[in-house]
Symmetry: C3
Subunit: 329 residues, 3 copies
Amino acid sequence: MTTQSIPVLWKNNTDKHYICKIIDISLRGCAQVMFQNNPITGLLFFIAIFISAYSNNNPLAAWGCVVGTVLASITGAITHDIKGWRDGLYSYNGCLVGIAIPVFITATPIMWLCLVVGSVVSVIATVCIADILKTWKVAALTAPFVLTTWVILLASYAFHNIYGSGLPSPDLPQHYIPSTQSSYSLSFFINSTLHGISQVFLFPGILASLFFIAGLAAESVVCACYAIVGSFIATLLACYLGANPHDIAAGLYAFSAVLTSVALGTVFNHPGWRVFIYTISGIIFTVFIQAAMNVLLMPLGIPTLTMPFVISSWLFLVPNKEFMPEHRH
Amino acid sequence: MTTQSIPVLWKNNTDKHYICKIIDISLRGCAQVMFQNNPITGLLFFIAIFISAYSNNNPLAAWGCVVGTVLASITGAITHDIKGWRDGLYSYNGCLVGIAIPVFITATPIMWLCLVVGSVVSVIATVCIADILKTWKVAALTAPFVLTTWVILLASYAFHNIYGSGLPSPDLPQHYIPSTQSSYSLSFFINSTLHGISQVFLFPGILASLFFIAGLAAESVVCACYAIVGSFIATLLACYLGANPHDIAAGLYAFSAVLTSVALGTVFNHPGWRVFIYTISGIIFTVFIQAAMNVLLMPLGIPTLTMPFVISSWLFLVPNKEFMPEHRH
Amino acid sequence: MTTQSIPVLWKNNTDKHYICKIIDISLRGCAQVMFQNNPITGLLFFIAIFISAYSNNNPLAAWGCVVGTVLASITGAITHDIKGWRDGLYSYNGCLVGIAIPVFITATPIMWLCLVVGSVVSVIATVCIADILKTWKVAALTAPFVLTTWVILLASYAFHNIYGSGLPSPDLPQHYIPSTQSSYSLSFFINSTLHGISQVFLFPGILASLFFIAGLAAESVVCACYAIVGSFIATLLACYLGANPHDIAAGLYAFSAVLTSVALGTVFNHPGWRVFIYTISGIIFTVFIQAAMNVLLMPLGIPTLTMPFVISSWLFLVPNKEFMPEHRH
């Protein structure tokens, strides 16, 4: 048996056995969070998620991620878009819901109910939003995850039996004034850049970040570079504009920019100089949208999740047809 | 003259006399709040509205409802959609505006100005939103009512001469903690379920609720069953998740679910097992959206009205084309 | 050389020299804030902007306006819509961004960075929003300006180095109660009406207002009349409903209505009785939306900018195809 035959063997199994098919779709679904249609990338991403969840003392987030991804993969069978389903396009939102619910909601049986409801509804929301957006030929991105999770997190305030332990306290916005003079070192920038990449999956982490980069590189080295560049530029800009250094260090100003960078730079356009400049503009404005949404959601006590990436990417992708010579999707 | 001839006689009159036509459209408009195109249903609904408005010490709401419905029916003549106009599709939002304004705004001459402006604009909003949504083949539902009323209720804070007496005080969200241990009896569930049905028209009430159910049953018994089931499941879920028992008892967690249940279960799909399961999912998520919107609007001091139903139904109706074998509209 | 030949000479120059072309586009862009495609109007508007900025002790706003307009005119070249670009349709949002940033953000080098980012992104937002809205045949209006500026103003709360000096303090809404009995004189109404017109460009001012009216009249006298009528009716209604007299006097309840009046009355419809009544309805509801948005944005501490006009005009323009016999655009 040669190395070449492993993918072939796997493909044969996924066609024959339902469980293998769901595993394959779940792995691809996890990889699709960063736009990759590759089970190896998904496997590396899952390893990274387990590393970061366990090292941040929240192992349930990793197991929730598995449950959410698998449930969404099973629910995805209700669509008629068989190709999209098998490529994991109906699973990646469930993957993120599965991490987010245990991160923000205290572990109780009702937390698991929320996770199940969120994963299943994320599939319906994906079909709904994709259908709406096809009018303008843009993708749903992670909007179904964000909207579904926001509903559950907001609802947690009204329900006594759902306790949002990880949520910020609702407050009126105030101009941010740093308590101490902050000095930024090179290691600060490198660490923040790496945390920004793993923060896409809701946890900071250096080792996890390297696995995420490896997963991206397994499918496309250019993609991995764009992720790093996006995170680095966003970190730099957030420091220059005077954002909260703790948030910068945790990668909270960079994770949306990572996704914008990969989306605009490699997924929906052919790489090139014109696209590179357009992508840099997108990264810069993503940092502004990230800060704006942090403030916008302050009175509600919920996090932005990846919405700044979604809005920024829609903003820069809709006119794309006109600006860019060629399209991929 | 046989019984059969009364509808025929009525039809002849509505074609000949303008006033009869407007009365017919207004009755159908009131019935269309719950998707029924039937003047008998409308008459039973109006009786229910008068019962609940008078028994809740707000008779103006019933008269405002009549004024709003009739004004919207007259204004509806500006559309080219003659069939939709005669079926009451441009009147039901005015019907709800006519109840909501006296419920939330103190009775003054300017309250009536708001009611007139709201009813007329609700027709324009209906044409606007229906035109936008036909891109995805979904109906405007009660979105025109909600948006028009929200504008007037928000504006009441800025205008000294419009006093929003029935509005909740704007506040930052806090996690709900019950003051006393609550025990739920069977009569609590039955009463809450009934209040949920009449709360669609903004008042709790047992007797009114029976008239609403009778009105639905006059056109379709299945429809009436779906309304009851929707209200009951929503009440049960809200109790399980630990919502405020006073709000549950007033039907405030059930009224949106009643509309979602009727819409998904009978109006826009042919009843069946697949549709039944899909409808239950819709009811469950409507309860989450209801709680989420309660929290979302807390800092603004305005009620959700039927927006949770609208959002939930759009979410479950847009992908419908793909999920469901057949469509009605 | 006759007077007639000046436009011809100018046209020849704008075709040959890049700088003349950008100047022409920038002048038209400034005029397009009020829907006029005329460089003379733009020149009069720029004079008015300099008068009002200097008389309100904020000269940077006038210079920022020039920079924003020119930058947007240059960036606009990326679209394929050459005609729209030359008509200033990609410049007017940059013109308003260029005024708004110095009005609300303290003058620092980073303020200029925000102004540059805002102007450039306003062009991308214009292409994006225009593309989305062409589905329903309505224009982007000033939505790109409002959304881009809101992002930067909200972000200012999160960034220490961007200080929003001119922003209202975030607060929960409260019912407005006037401190003293206010008496309205004729001069109050005249002044408020004029301030309402110049407030479209974010400053009150009588002399500036006269220049704006002259600029409108240079292209269309009917247009100038609609601007005055819109401002006057909005002022009257705001007084009647009991709005804050200081805000009315500064034209803050009238500027959105000015734009609604011009848009509905002359730009997107052929003037006539039916259109006149429809426009009056639009003006009345714009005042309600203005008050509603003031309250809506209170917890966030940002101004409405021209969003009430945008929402009101979309509401009244989408159904237009059905209501109005003929269309201009």
